[in-house]
Amino acid sequence: MANLVFIKGRGCEVGTFDYLMHGFETALTWYNILFAFVGVLIGTAVGVLPGIGPMSGVALLIPVTASITGGLPPEQAATSAIILLAGVYYGAMYGGSTTSILLNTPGESSSVVTTLDGYQMAKKGRAGSALSISAIGSFVGGIVTLIAMIALAQPLSTIAIKFGPAEYFSLMLLGLAAVSGLAGKSVTKALIMTVCGLLIGTIGIDNVSGIARFTFDIPWLYQGVEFLTIAVGLFALGEVFKTILEKDEDDGEIAKINNLIPSKEEFKESAGPIARGRS
């Protein structure tokens, strides 16, 4: 802890590397690896529940981590608890994609896109491959992002400071235009849904002026409509109602997880998306 004072005085190039190695040393002790494993396991289980994403998962599991790491001396217990929570975070990130693939229900906002092709794969009986591809993608993405963050944090931070409102606005516009352009056959319908989403976004207190818009004095609406609520409502309820409405008399086959290891062709097909999607 006393080393933190040094960082102000000298250039932190050497210091960063030292700290990194020290971090690896701590993280690779056997009980910390065990804690990381337990964390990822619990996190995956929590992430599977729709509506409990990484953030709320970590918040919920704080008492559990405190009791699990209770046997260690205080300083190590704190480190191990943080490691466990980091494991929970990553596990929940991955767990969300499980429901996206198997049930067409995103567990949190980050795995909405997984529903688009993951569920299609599960329908064709390739749920196992979809799950493992998502796991591999998650792992590769995590590692690459970590390395990139260690190497590029300093230069990127200078760019991030220059990234002002105008840049954010253009980025949003690009995103909305791309989504409307890529979605489905009818551009008109895609644009209508984009505008609908933006209109739902205006509900609540305006960030700039602090004036409540379209709340009709209902206190729950003041903080706006949350994205996750809409995502789960649209995907999960839509899927449930669709299943009920179009229920066949003969029971449709359940998506079986028969082959966890993706075939070579599937690896080849997914290598590109994994490499591109790592950020």
Binding site: L61, T188, L199, T202, D206, R213, L245, E246
Partner: protein, 151 residues
């Protein structure tokens, strides 16, 4: 998607867009002396939405054909589940989680699959009980567990 539905949807979206425009007129038109107030954004979006729905109506009017091939939909079970979901949402806070979830799951299981009384009873009771125990006792969360007149 059949044309009839498109026509209906376009009229509905037109109504939503116009209502948003009317609603945004009631908001303040400026903030801190700037001419861009909180009303601009919803107003413009409502305008865009109504223009787009007019376009959708036009497209649906032109593009005929595309016969709708509807399967027979099971409206009865759909309405039962929709109603029970609404009742579940409305009674969750007063009657509490355990009883409402048990009844909701039981009704849903029975509408989806008849004649397995014992099995659906056990599953719905076990599910609501175990989830309540996990959330409240293990994870130390807060849930309205039992009816308010109990405690």
């Amino acid at each position: 998607m059949d044309v009839k539905f498109d026509r209906f949807a376009s009229v509905a979206f037109l109504a939503v867009g116009v209502l948003f425009m009317i609603g945004s007129r009631k908001l303040a038109t400026s903030s801190y002396g700037s001419s861009v107030g909180p009303d601009i954004f919803p107003f413009v979006l409502g305008l865009v939405l109504s223009l787009l729905s007019v376009r959708l109506f036009y497209e649906a009017f032109r593009g005929k054909g595309q016969e709708s091939h509807k399967e027979k939909l099971q409206y009865k079970s759909f309405i039962i589940i929709l109603l029970s979901t609404l009742i579940y949402i409305l009674t969750l806070e007063t009657i509490g989680y355990v009883i409402t979830t048990f009844l909701f799951l039981f009704v849903c299981f029975q509408t989806m699959e008849r004649n397995r009384w014992v099995k659906s009873l056990i599953i719905s009771a076990g599910f609501s009980g175990i989830i309540y125990y996990l959330f409240v006792n293990v994870l130390k969360g807060t849930l309205p567990g039992w009816p308010i007149w109990f405690s």
